[in-house]
């Protein structure tokens, strides 16, 4: 398998499913030297299914549908992402985010 070089850029996608799992992710990003990231409020498909078919409870429909789930997007070097992943992999299962990286072939608008 081709291993990208340590200075190559990658797109990092992390999904923190709860409020509790988001906090260590931010700490880990900073510790790994990744100081730029975009955070999007998100909803899991389970929350969508539940909200579409409430049986006894439905009052939450009145509020913006925040479930605590967040998607974190960042572009960083392979070296920093590797350090981040090592740290996140050691977190307890409940606080560990879902993560994936993709090679970033062309990058625009990112400060060196």
């Amino acid at each position: 398998m081709h291993e990208p070089g340590s200075n190559e850029l990658q797109l990092l996608v992390l999904i923190a499913r709860t409020e509790e799992s988001f906090d260590p992710v931010v700490t880990a990003l900073l510790d790994a030297g990744i100081t730029g990231a975009t955070v999007l409020e998100s909803r899991g498909i389970g929350a969508i299914i539940r909200s579409e078919m409430p049986i006894f409870a439905g009052l939450a429909a009145l509020l913006p549908q925040a479930t605590g789930s967040r998607v974190i997007l960042s572009i960083a070097t392979t070296e920093r992402i590797a350090a981040l992943m090592r740290y996140l992999d050691q977190l307890p299962r409940e606080r560990r985010p879902i993560g994936v990286t993709l090679p970033a072939r062309q990058v625009l608008g990112l400060e060196p």
């Binding site: 579409e52 049986i55 006894f56 009052l59 509020l63 307890p92």
Partner: protein, 399 residues
């Protein structure tokens, strides 16, 4: 003899095996309701109506019980009553957990107006038609004797079902109306529980209710201080919640009160307390809703029995009439122009459909006092729920 205890025994088999058969079916339905195929099935509008109203589980219960195949008969299986009480407690917890300060503060004025009008009109209308049906069937019965049943049916008629997929009502153009309907359904469930327990209080019953609420409050404090801010151990949280709920439900049953208000208070306290453990409990309870509903409606179907006379059918017809005539008018008056916005046409039958909490209130009454009157009221509410669920689908099919 309580309702569940009197409802089930496998013909010719020991009681323990009968309880096992019911428990196995309950577990199977609960498991299936949380699986991917059930979620996929709910994308189909008719299946969404059947699952959202609890009709599939209820039909399974009816099939097992005396109304169906007769495989299960009206004899003593006392082991099942705690399961029924726990289901009711969990439902109370679910409804109570909506009572978060931020959520209540977000209730808009039109919805408050709608719910208030609906509560008054539904309660009075349902109580009057029930009184008429009972007077016709049994003219000798005193109104004071009837009052708890009239009040229970009145409270059960408040609100509507929040399930909108079967109406193709999740249209982005009418998202504000859909949110009002779903939010109103949740708020109405809470009002129905509170109204049912306050209005049906008998002389001396307030002591039982206060005792139950005090135990629920104490249990909440103990739960919070025991768990602290723990967030990591799901098993411990689940066990603590189940234990607390069992304590509250058991105390209510011993005090002769309904399980719903104590659990409702517990849910309300948990949702308003800070701490990671409280948030995890909220998620656990919210995610369990389909499973608990499946078990609850299965048990409801089992205890559903034949009642002498046609009066439950008369009550059901009267309640259906009130829903069809009064609910849309109330919605139009309360919501004004919002009711006519593009995309909202599909949602118009939504308030007609009876809320699932209605059956929970009837089952709670039946578990407290198992008489022909309570059984008849449960049958009437099930029939009304079925009728009010089918009519909008027929209306949509025709249009």
């Amino acid at each position: 003899m309580n309702a569940l205890a009197s409802a089930t025994t496998l013909r010719g088999l020991p009681e323990a095996i009968a309880a096992l058969a019911v428990g196995g079916t309950a577990l199977l339905l609960a498991f299936l309701s949380l699986t991917r195929p059930a979620a996929r099935l709910s994308r189909w509008p008719l299946a969404s109506a059947l699952l959202g109203g609890g009709w599939i589980a209820l039909a399974c219960g009816v099939a097992l019980g005396p109304l169906g195949t007769g495989l299960l008969r009206r004899e003593s299986v006392a082991e099942l009553e705690p399961l029924g009480q726990m289901c009711l407690a969990w439902i109370g917890l679910l409804v109570g957990m909506q009572m978060k300060g931020t959520l209540l503060a977000a209730v808009p004025a039109p919805l408050l107006r709608w719910i208030t009008m609906d509560a008054v009109v539904s309660f009075v209308g349902a109580a009057v038609v029930t009184w008429w049906a009972l007077r016709t069937a049994a003219p000798q019965v005193d109104l004071r004797v009837m009052w708890p049943l009239l009040a229970m049916i009145g409270a059960a008629s408040i609100g509507w079902s929040g399930e909108l997929r079967s109406l193709h009502g999740l249209d982005a153009r009418a998202s504000s109306v859909a949110a009002l309907i779903q939010g109103g359904a949740g708020l109405a469930s809470a009002i129905a529980i509170v109204a049912s327990d306050l209005v049906t209080l008998k002389p001396g019953g307030s002591a039982s209710l206060i005792t139950t609420l005090a135990i629920a409050a104490a249990a909440t404090v103990a739960l919070r201080s025991t768990l602290g801010t723990e967030t990591g151990n799901q098993g411990r949280l689940t066990l603590a919640l189940l234990g607390t709920l069992a304590l509250v439900a058991g105390a209510a049953a011993l005090a002769g009160a309904s399980t719903l208000p104590g659990a409702f208070l517990l849910g309300m306290a948990i949702t308003n307390l800070r701490g990671g453990s409280m948030r995890r409990m909220e998620r656990l309870v919210a995610e369990s809703e389909p499973a608990v509903a499946a078990v609850f409606f299965l048990l409801s179907g089992i205890i559903l029995g034949r009642t002498p006379g046609w009066w439950p059918w008369m009550i059901a017809g009267g309640l259906l009439f009130v829903r069809i005539v009064a609910k849309p008018i109330v919605a139009r008056i309360a919501l004004g122009d919002a009711w006519d916005q593009p995309g909202a046409q599909r949602l118009r039958p939504a308030p007609v459909r009876q809320a699932p909490i209605a059956v929970a209130l009837a089952v709670a009454a039946l578990l407290a006092h198992d008489t022909v009157a309570e059984r008849g009221c449960l049958l009437a509410l099930v029939l009304c729920g079925l009728g009010s669920g089918v009519l909008p689908l027929l209306w949509r099919a025709r249009s």
